[in-house]
């Protein structure tokens, strides 16, 4: 019996369906969301997906908590934009579509160089070193304006005549197609990586580095090689971003950017391969859309992150998988009412809380505009007692209802899990 025959199960068919579906979403997204704003957002999402997936090679697959992943995407971005400028000046003959590869090679090179030091240690020490290297590169960006462009950054022009097959990369949609193609190929390659000896040993190093040494592997090597692969894909993401914005500023290597990779990869879910894809989408929605809606967006984001760390450490992907498991055992339906109750109560509490937050921001930051503001279509007077009382009541009532719903849900959830546990044991024994 060969391994291939042994492995053939319905989920292999499912896998084809999933990948076709992924390609289809990438293809149809700009047709469904066709406004120019949507195209911009979708392009950024594609870039963020590659970046978060590459970060998860470290975090989820290798147990390496890096605080400096933006170093590799950022330096990739700078190298790509300088390459693009060389191409534009005619000093280098390279199709614009391959410029992100220059970013990838830069990411790979710097990950090999800096990662050699970083990956000698694991755990807390590793995290500290990545933080240090992140600060180091950030300070370099201020010291070397020739390369990093100083405060204004380095600008470029992605339209380099002559056009090939009518593709100029002038219109945003053409850039989107380039990003979508890279996104699909990079996702597939990074998924393939998880199925290779190095990919599996990386999981082993995450679980138990000590034991890895006693089965013949050098744990530092495993971490270093994985770090380089993560750097390569981060660099490609940086290169795509450079083409997309025709600009690279010091912000792209900043600790803030590194923090965003960590935060959104975690929110999306670091334990499942597809988690960072969700994370990348959330990253753009939060940093571009949410930040337009409210000045308090970082506060909401921090709140969501804390809740996620405490109650759903598997991120969105973890929640999805847990519910798929319930559905597979026919246990999801009885929980739907509980979910509805949680959602309604949660929405009420959130409305009350955010009304107060927005009123506070109105008073503190928008003083010139006066205390009257519009929130969810309702006019509120931030200096009047009635608005505050109303919001507080909403928060209290919603919060109490949420807590009640949560307790009932918890009981149902635990029952369902216990049933599934029994069912699995029964099947194993059969």
């Amino acid at each position: 019996m060969t391994e291939r025959a042994f492995h053939f199960r319905p989920h292999d068919v499912g896998r084809w369906a999933v990948w076709s579906g992924y390609a289809l979403v990438l293809l149809l997204a700009p047709l469904v969301f066709s406004s120019s704003l949507s195209q911009t957002l979708l392009s950024q999402m594609g870039v963020a997906i590659i970046a978060c997936l590459s970060y998860n090679i470290l975090l989820g697959q290798g147990g390496m908590l890096s605080f400096g992943h933006a170093v590799y995407s950022g330096l990739g971005g700078f190298l790509a934009i300088h390459t693009l400028n060389l191409v534009g000046a005619g000093a280098l003959h390279l199709p614009v579509s391959l410029v992100p590869m220059a970013g990838g090679l830069a990411g790979l090179f710097f990950a090999a160089l800096l990662g050699f030091v970083t990956t000698r240690k694991s755990g807390t020490t590793f995290a500290m070193i990545t933080l240090g290297i992140g600060e180091l590169v950030w300070s370099m960006s201020l010291m070397l304006p020739e390369f990093f462009g100083g405060e204004g950054g380095v600008t470029s022009n992605r339209v380099v005549p002559p056009a090939t097959l009518g593709i100029t990369f002038g219109p945003q949609i053409q850039v989107y197609w380039l990003i979508a193609l890279y996104c699909f190929v990079c996702t597939a390659l990074m998924f393939a990586f998880t199925r290779t000896p190095l990919g599996r040993m990386l999981n082993a190093v995450r679980d138990n580095p000590e034991r890895v040494a006693f089965i013949g592997y050098d744990t530092q090597r495993v971490r270093w090689f994985a770090f380089m692969i993560a750097g390569l894909f981060a660099g490609i993401a940086g290169g795509l971003a450079a083409i997309n914005f025709e600009l690279a500023t010091a912000e792209v290597v900043s600790a803030q950017r590194s923090g965003a990779y960590l935060l959104f990869t975690f929110l999306g879910g670091s334990t499942a391969f597809f988690g960072p894809i969700i994370g990348g989408v959330l990253m753009v929605l939060a940093t571009v859309v949410l930040s337009q809606l409210t000045k308090a967006w970082l506060l909401y984001l921090g709140f969501a992150f804390v809740l996620m760390v405490m109650y759903a450490p598997g991120g969105v992907a973890g929640l999805v998988l847990a519910n798929l498991r319930l559905a597979a055992f026919g246990r999801l339906r009885p929980l739907l009412r509980g979910y509805l109750a949680l959602a309604v109560a949660g929405a009420l509490a959130l409305t009350g809380a955010s009304a107060m937050i927005e009123m506070l921001y109105q008073l503190q930051l928008n003083e010139a505009l006066g205390p009257v503001m519009t929130f969810c279509g309702v006019s509120l007077d931030a200096k009047g007692a009635s608005a505050w009382i109303g919001a507080a009541v909403l928060l209290a009532a919603g919060g109490a209802a949420f807590e009640l719903a949560r307790r009932r849900f918890r009981v149902r959830w635990d029952e369902a899990q216990a049933d599934i546990e029994r069912e699995t044991t029964r099947r194993e024994a059969a």
């Binding site: 060969t2 391994e3 291939r4 492995h7 393939a192 990586f193 199925r195 290779t196 000896p197 190095l198 990919g199 599996r200 040993m201 999981n203 082993a204 995450r206 679980d207 138990n208 000590e210 034991r211 890895v212 040494a213 006693f214 089965i215 013949g216 592997y217 050098d218 744990t219 090597r221 495993v222 090689f225 692969i229 194993e428």
Partner: protein
């Protein structure tokens, strides 16, 4: 005795290990022949686990030499020692907790089959690695638990997988650190049989507290007291040795010998 049988697989020459001012190993010397099963016994704190850690490369000795098949390995990194053909198990199961039984075993065979750090080949296509992992899984009677995560196994299953990780790479010299620790009598009996099977034709060095297992399994017994090997001989000779009886509460050895023959028959 043929030449091969008399070949020395593992040798310790006057090995010392100090932690600060405390000297745990004080000049331990030992010669283990290829194909031999040796048990190390000794009272708590005699330095048995430290000795294992020195041999397997977890610690470097303060002085002295350790030779594996004639080559110096003292102070070498664990992965280098493993590549030279020495594998060890741990007293507390040391597994890849979030990987399945099969994945645990496959990880343990990859290096020995030469796949190193390959990221250009799919695991599913490595027929020899998959076959070897499956063989070991069958040997451990864990086939039915193929896809269960190591952390969800029962205690006895984890102990079995611990042995599996140690032998999967095909090392010639095996160090088993209290393989039957915490097991019931019947589990121990089954386990001794398993160890006997998987160490067939290999050199075995084991630390064991269960005298039944020791006398049932070992060709020779090394007695370690306060960091020194005070006796190294056949079970019968060790049992009769007055120095051993004096140092190692001889009564306990005498008492357990009957029970030992029991386990030996298993």
């Amino acid at each position: 005795m043929t030449d091969a049988a008399a070949r020395i697989a593992l040798e310790l020459r006057d090995v010392h290990k100090r932690f600060g001012k405390t000297e745990i190993i004080r000049g331990a010397s030992l010669q283990v022949n290829a194909g031999e099963r040796v048990a190390i016994i000794g009272p708590n704190g005699a330095g048995k686990s430290t000795l294992f850690n020195l041999i397997s490369g977890r610690f470097a000795p303060s002085s002295g030499e350790i030779l594996l098949n004639g080559a110096r390995i003292d102070g070498a990194a664990p992965h280098r020692i493993n590549r030279l053909g020495l594998a060890r198990s741990f007293q507390v199961s040391n597994l890849f907790t979030h990987l399945s039984v099969f994945e645990n075993l496959r990880c343990a065979v990859l290096w020995s089959l030469g796949y190193r750090y390959a990221f250009w080949r799919f695991l599913a296509g490595l027929h020899d690695a998959n076959e070897r992992a499956r063989q070991v899984m069958a040997l451990l009677q864990l086939d039915r638990r193929r896809d269960v995560l190591a952390m969800n196994l029962t205690y006895a299953e984890q102990r079995a997988l611990e042995i599996g990780l140690t032998i999967a790479g095909g090392a010639d010299v095996l160090l088993l650190d209290e393989p039957t620790a915490g097991m019931s009598k019947s589990e121990t009996r089954r386990f001794v049989q398993l160890i006997r099977t998987v160490t067939e034709g290999k050199t075995l060095l084991t630390v064991e507290h269960d005298m039944g297992v020791v006398f049932g399994l070992a060709d020779r017994i090394a007695v370690l007291v306060y960091g020194e090997v005070i006796a190294f001989d056949t079970p019968e000779a060790v049992r009769a040795n007055p120095r051993v009886q004096e140092a190692y509460l001889g009564s306990s050895i005498a008492q357990t010998s009957a029970h030992a023959d029991d386990a030996g028959d298993a």
